[in-house]
């Protein structure tokens, strides 16, 4: 495998509520020889709240990171689907609209016209590293895992900027999980929204979306849901039954990151630490695998 090197944009969740996503990303990339050099002094992309309320802000916050990436020259790697979307949409608008690029440059104080590629790790693993390269590294097959791949929104839409092979029925994550030995269960909710941006403000709406996803995963015969987005995972793990003082999980189906699945299959020693961080405990399921 040719050595790969990226400027890495970690994103806020990966050192906060989704630390296990960040840690497993670093671990699998190291094991595969993918060099990640963290973008110096990176800042938040602004996420949904940015583009929903202030257009120039929504492009300028990623613009600061794009300017820093431009100075380094390498392609950029992102793992959070939301960061990925904001970086790619902003890059496209900056490069296609010179008037906007000028405004962003004034706001940021540096040239934001980053022309390198912005990649999601799933895309790099499936299409650059390749499943043929990954398969021989599986030391612990994930047979027994019945997974439904959950792509969510921002990894697939809008298709003009995203990376998956199909916008209505993507299969990248399906094929990735199958290569690790998991049984991939078919379902129709791969790209249905979990309501992430409403998680705190309209928990009632989110509860309905989240429970529907779990019910459909159960119907599909799944014993786990695999994601590529820290917003989806947080929402699925925390919003099944919101309440004031109690906390319960009516559908105890673990929700795991694709990087954790790879790390587990490759026998990486840190995997145990990642799984401890999950609100829906995956240990009963993982014990069955052995």
């Amino acid at each position: 495998m040719a050595t790969m090197s990226f400027t890495y944009y970690p994103g806020c969740s990966q050192s906060g509520s989704a630390e296990e996503f960040g840690d497993s990303t670093l671990a699998v990339c190291e094991a595969l020889g993918i060099e990640l050099l963290e973008l110096p002094d990176w800042s938040c992309c602004g996420a949904s709240s940015g583009h929903m309320t202030n257009d120039l802000l929504s492009v300028s916050l990623p613009g600061r990171d794009l300017a820093a990436a431009r100075a380094l020259g390498r392609d950029m790697l992102v793992v959070c689907a939301a960061c990925y979307s904001r970086m790619k949409v902003s890059q496209r608008r900056i490069l296609e609209d010179e008037e906007l690029a000028g405004k962003v440059e004034d706001a940021v104080g540096a040239d934001p016209r980053f022309t390198g590629r912005i990649r999601h790790l799933l895309d790099v693993l499936v299409n650059d590293v390749g499943l043929a390269e990954i398969k021989p590294r599986v030391v612990r097959s994930l047979g027994g895992l019945k997974a439904v791949p959950y792509y969510g929104c921002l990894l697939v839409r809008p298709p003009e900027v995203c990376c998956c092979d199909s916008v209505e029925n993507p299969t990248d994550l399906d094929r990735f999980l199958a290569a690790l030995g998991a049984e991939v269960r078919p379902w129709s909710f791969k790209t249905d929204c979990c309501g992430g941006s409403l998680s705190l403000s309209r928990t009632d709406v989110v509860e309905r979306l989240v429970n529907r996803l779990f019910e459909r995963a159960e119907e599909a015969g799944a014993n786990c849901i695999v994601t590529a987005c820290p917003m989806c995972t947080a929402n699925l793990e925390m919003r099944q039954k919101p309440s004031k003082f109690g906390f319960s999980i009516p559908h105890p189906i673990p929700v795991l990151y694709f990087t954790e699945m790879l790390g587990l299959a490759m026998g990486l020693p840190d995997a145990e630490e990642w799984f401890k961080a999950h609100i829906i405990d995956p240990h009963p399921l993982l014990k069955e695998l052995v």
């Binding site: 050192s15 949904s48 257009d55």
Partner: protein, 181 residues
């Protein structure tokens, strides 16, 4: 004061978002695929129609634009290539700029809290976000059980990580604020 009807609404949205809402022929594909339609006061295709009619007061005060989760299913499926979610962004931004009585003040409060956190630290931190949002939303005690579970799982970081050059981040907010979106 927001006029009930603005004949310029379609043009103003085009200037902001590049979207030609007049191309909508009401096939309703956007509403059929919208995951949040059950909670909306106007369905997405109705929003498109009201934009064509110029009914700005109704639109800038509706709940729908704030409930839109920006999942982009509608934008992906529109046969007339209208980025419906982009139009929702345009309407949200207009509502804030014109000081409209928004249909979902709690959602606006959430976005405001989220962005204030970034302005302060340069990065998003869950603890700071909760600290900003919860007391103002009047739901301080919601999710106490969840917070305890998050603590146990190490998901709440009491020492927020922040950007070193926070001045640069503040300058971005100042520049974007001045331009009025």
């Amino acid at each position: 004061m927001i006029n009930n009807i603005s004949p310029q609404l379609d043009k103003e949205l085009e200037r902001r978002t590049g979207q030609k809402v007049r191309d909508c022929y009401q096939c309703r594909k956007c509403s059929a695929g919208c995951p949040v339609a059950f909670a909306m006061d106007l369905l997405p295709h109705e929003v498109m129609k009201l934009v064509q009619y110029g009914l700005q007061e109704r639109l800038l005060g509706c709940s729908t634009v704030w409930l839109c989760a920006s999942c982009e299913t509608c934008s992906t499926r529109c046969p007339n290539d209208i980025d419906v979610a982009g139009v929702m962004d345009g309407l949200r931004q207009m509502a804030l700029e014109k000081g409209a009585a928004v249909g979902q003040p709690e959602i606006v409060l959430f976005h405001d809290s989220f962005l204030r956190g970034i302005k302060l630290l340069g990065r998003t931190n869950e603890t700071v976000l909760m600290g900003q949002y919860k007391p103002l939303s009047g739901r301080l005690l919601d999710d106490m059980g969840l917070a305890a579970v998050m603590m146990l799982k190490g998901k709440i970081k009491l020492l927020p990580r922040m950007v070193k050059d926070r001045k640069a981040v503040r300058r971005i907010f100042d520049a974007a604020g001045k331009s009025g979106g």
